[in-house]
Amino acid sequence: MIEQLAGSWNYIIVIILMMTGLFMVIARANLVKKMIGLSIFQTSVFIFYISLGKMAGGTAPILDGNPDTLYSNPLPHVLILTAIVVGVATTALGLALILRINEAFGSVEEDEIIAAKASQSLARPKRPTSEAAE
């Protein structure tokens, strides 16, 4: 049992990270912490992919002419490079939104925002006649 766990310790770490991230996304009321949770969650998936591509004893997949060389699978790395870019974009966009939310509501705590939403909305209409309902 222990050996089995030890043999797949990378997956165990992935799972721990994944659950940590997901828990933060769901349970934290602070928007920034949610964002951090999301990043951890996504990173765990990156690790998962990369450990999929790792061959035991494999080296970087650069041809050296020796047919006996073991190579790691490069494809997951390429995929994850793309996924990292997507992750960065997601985080950046999320943080940008949080800044705007903080500006508009004066808080980044979800419960406070909900309370503020109920009171009144920030209306900045372009037309003079307009006035947001509620």
Binding site: Q42, V45, L97
Partner: protein
């Protein structure tokens, strides 16, 4: 030479043109010009989609190899009858929504932001097209995120009139990112089993692959992720706020085309990737998707009945309508899938028209459209309100409108499978949907305008797209031959196996 080059590259152009025009519209100094770019981009996509559709009508399956790399090594775009129908619907409505966007955006978005607005707009549209065409499971995730991130930007731009748009956008971002990541996890498992990312390849290798638990886990994660994107109950929670607080033009575009793409991808997961392992697909469809779809139909309808804000009301209604589409697809019979595809097209027409008209109301009112503010609007803005009425009747499923055709084929498909309980539930929910439509129409047409209400100016700029959609609802209700035939072909293509 040039003509031939364009013809062979149609699938690529469909995606590349909007995506490449996007940065230019972001840096253009004149707001009007950015709109023209968006119009050109969606227009070209629409033409390309129509041409693709005419090619695939005869059962031809186009396989386009990006960079001329043979699949499964390279990324492959596949256009068959199923994806071409979805593309035509999405690009057509995308084009009309762009046509309507000019005036709505001019009112709701600051001029200095409108270049960025149209850039994001083009990214969403192009990303969704790619989502539908790509046969590479990981490339799909990239397109998914391109369109999702861009739509978060669009939704957030609603903050100019209502700050709640920011929170709606944030929630969509977080929930959407979790969904997309789930999908990626799923793809990882399936990749681990099969060693390929090409959907067709996955399908052919899965039956022999010693998958075991990994197969179930991968399948579950992929489906769960796409359920979030398609806004299927109970992971639809991001949708009402996102559509409700987004700028009107964005609500129109998203409601008409965004969830359609995710639904289409769901269908591809079920019927293409896992075509070789029907046992888990059947279990998932009949035990999970069907109950969820029916649940969504009810939850969406009931929430719509209790909602006073018009945009959110129809956003809830979208949840219900997505349930109808998902239900059709989940029946997994040729009749059911074609019913789903018919409703993909018709619902795009219905919701496109409804949100366009609401945009017209909001623009004229200068305030959110709620049951209070639109009182008596039928007489104050007759042209917009009549188009709204037509689309509403179509949503209710009255004969001679497109909505009727959808309901008819869905009911027939359900009957074929002898599931009378589901039939009864669908009929009840369909009757319930009359309730909220009646509430809106009653307020609009049968109550006098409040005293001292300002005179409302109609918005002629949206007449053309709005009425094209409204008349489309009638046209496809009278001459349903095209969509029914195309949907049937789509069902055959999907169920025929292969990518």
């Amino acid at each position: 030479m040039m003509g031939a080059a364009i013809l062979t590259n149609l699938p690529a152009l469909l995606v590349v043109v909007p995506l490449l025009l996007a940065p230019f519209s972001a840096v253009l100094p004149i707001a009007g010009l950015a709109w023209v770019l968006a119009l050109v981009g969606t227009g070209i996509s629409f033409l390309a989609a129509l041409m693709l559709q005419s090619v695939t009508e005869n059962g031809v399956r186009i396989s386009y190899h990006l960079g001329n790399w043979e699949p499964p090594w390279g990324i492959e775009f596949v256009v068959d009858s199923a994806s071409s129908l979805t593309l035509v619907v999405m690009s057509g409505l995308g084009f009309l929504a762009t046509l309507a966007a000019r005036r709505l955006v001019a009112i709701e978005i600051a001029d200095k932001d409108s270049g960025k607005f149209y850039a994001a707009w083009l990214l969403v549209v192009g990303g969704l097209f790619g989502l539908v065409m790509t046969a590479d499971a990981f490339n799909l995730f990239v397109f998914l995120e391109i369109s999702a991130l861009a739509s978060v930007i669009l939704i957030g731009m609603g903050a100019g009139t209502d700050r709640r748009a920011l929170v709606a956008g944030y929630h969509y971002l977080v929930i959407g990112a979790v969904g997309a990541t789930f999908y990626v996890i799923g793809v990882g498992f399936i990749y681990a089993i099969t060693g390929t990312l090409n959907m067709g390849d996955m399908a052919s290798r899965l039956p022999d692959a010693a998958g075991g638990a990994a197969l179930y886990v991968g399948f579950g994660f992929m489906v769960a992720g796409m359920l979030v994107k398609a806004a299927i109950f109970p992971v639809h929670i991001w949708l009402p706020a996102a559509y409700g607080y987004a700028p009107s033009a964005v609500s129109t575009m998203l409601a008409a085309i965004a969830t359609k793409a995710a639904l289409y991808v769901l269908a591809r997961i079920f019927f293409t990737i896992f075509a070789g392992t029907p046992e888990i697909v059947d279990i998932a469809l009949s035990n999970i998707i069907v109950p969820l779809a029916v649940g969504g139909i009810f939850v969406g309808t009931i929430m719509a009945i209790y909602e006073a804000d018009i945009k959110k009301m129809f956003a809830h209604s979208s949840v219900a309508q997505i349930g109808y589409i998902a239900l059709g697809l989940a029946l997994a019979t040729p009749a059911g899938i074609s019913a789903g595809f018919i409703h993909i097209g018709n619902h795009a027409l219905i919701k496109g028209g409804i949100f366009m008209a609401i945009g017209g109301f909001v623009a004229a009112l200068g305030a959110r459209a709620s049951l209070e503010t639109i009182t008596g609007i039928g007489r104050r803005m007759p042209i917009t309100a009549t188009a709204f009425l037509i689309c509403g009747l179509s949503l209710a499923g009255l004969p001679l409108t497109a909505g009727f055709i959808s309901k008819l084929y869905l009911v027939r498909a359900i009957l074929e499978t002898d599931s009378y309980v589901i039939l009864a539930l669908v009929l009840i929910s369909s009757a319930l949907s009359v309730v909220y439509l009646w509430k809106v129409m009653e307020v609009m047409w049968m109550q006098p305008a409040p005293a001292r209400s300002p005179k409302l100016v109609e918005n002629p700029a949206i007449y053309l797209p709005l009425w094209m959609v409204a008349l489309g609802n009638i046209w496809f209700g009278i001459d349903a031959g095209w969509i029914v035939g195309a949907a049937r072909l789509a069902a055959t293509a999907l169920l025929g196996g292969g990518a």
